[in-house]
């Protein structure tokens, strides 16, 4: 294993490596296609990896960069990548004005939340309730919390342990669609759910 690594590296580069210690970093393509980067810092030296499969071998002498291949990544990191948890999923449910009753459409969305939860062995869920800008802060804080609690209760009823579902209310502080105070806006009467 050690010998193989030494032969795999140009001889000059191995001189600075103590024993067989070696470190490597490879940037992967982002799933959603956003630009990404990792800054590699060793003391004063800095190398930027900003393209998919850009890689650095982090020897003590000097980090050097190269382009890795998907096959390299799979052979070295396959087990680590296979253990990656399911990514967080986001859902939004909407409510009838002034109530904690889901709209008909959102009752269907709630079923897709249950379906997502079934794929996760130990889900934890964050439920954040919101309101539109009609009414006082006090009224909307209570309503937002009530909406979140109602959704939390529905999740618990379907078998998610209560300790794994956190419900909070934000009242009218975080309008999805900005409106002046007092404006009724269906898209703001919502609960946002993050499933991990």
């Amino acid at each position: 294993m050690c010998l193989a690594r030494i032969f795999a590296l140009p001889a000059a580069l191995t001189l600075g490596v103590a024993g067989c210690a070696s470190e490597r970093v490879v940037l992967l393509p982002e799933q959603d296609g956003h630009p990404t980067a990792v800054v590699v810092k060793q003391g004063d030296r800095e190398v930027l990896l900003d393209r998919p499969y850009a890689a650095a071998e982090l020897t003590l002498a000097d980090p050097w960069t190269y382009r890795a291949t998907p096959a390299d990544v799979e052979s070295t990191f396959g087990t680590a990548l296979a253990a990656q948890p399911t990514r967080a999923a986001h859902f939004v449910l909407y409510f009838v004005e002034g109530t904690d009753e889901l709209t008909e459409e959102s009752k269907k969305t709630l079923e897709t939340v249950f379906a997502d939860l079934e794929k996760r062995p130990v889900p934890d869920v964050l439920v954040v309730g919101h309101t539109d800008a009609v009414g006082t802060d006090q009224f909307n804080d209570a309503l937002a919390r009530k909406r979140a609690d109602t959704v939390r209760a529905a999740l618990i009823q379907r078998g998610i342990p209560g300790e794994d579902v956190v419900a909070i209310g934000r009242g009218k502080r975080e309008l999805l669609v900005p409106t002046p105070d007092g404006v009724a806006e269906p898209r703001n009467r919502r609960v946002e759910i993050v499933v991990r």
Binding site: R5, E23, V25, L27, T36, V39, A80, P85, G169, R196
Partner: protein, 145 residues
């Protein structure tokens, strides 16, 4: 005044139950242990993690962790991953996350912290600091035996 403190305490009640938890093991195969306060404890799917935990995998082990900012960290066999620092404000998405890979292999998908601020998340290896700019990457540290 007193009343608003009571209301605040009630509102925070639910989240305080999880205050010490910074993440959770979602995937575990083979031998996975956590070093916490000098003790080594067996870890399994569902185990919650705290700051300063060191997660270790055996030769047959691998582990997948979801942090509370939605970052994903997963490690292959013979790995030691330290969760050195994790501070996350779920309202502003601000805070800091520093992890270090002492040995083994690690795959990272950064979460809300790195998205909010390019300085918020680092992964250290024995020789290097990796600054995470909203990103997926893999790291390997081969330690001579």
């Amino acid at each position: 005044m007193l009343r608003s403190i009571c209301v605040l305490a009630l509102t925070l009640g639910v989240s305080l139950a999880h205050a010490a938890d910074i993440g959770q093991i979602k995937v575990a195969k083979g031998t996975v242990t956590i070093e916490r306060a000098g003790q080594s404890i067996a870890a399994a799917v569902g185990t919650r993690l705290q700051t300063s935990d060191v997660v270790r995998t055996g030769a047959d082990g691998s582990v997948g962790i979801t942090m509370s900012d939605n970052s994903l960290l997963s490690a292959g066999p013979n790995s030691a991953l330290a969760l050195d620092r994790f501070e996350f404000d779920s309202t502003t998405n601000e805070g800091h996350f520093d992890a270090s890979l002492r040995s083994g292999t690690l795959a990272v998908v950064s979460g809300k912290l790195a998205k909010q601020s390019p300085e918020a998340m680092t992964v250290r290896t024995p020789t290097t600091i990796l600054g995470v700019r909203g990103t997926e990457f893999v790291v390997r540290v081969d330690v001579p035996r």
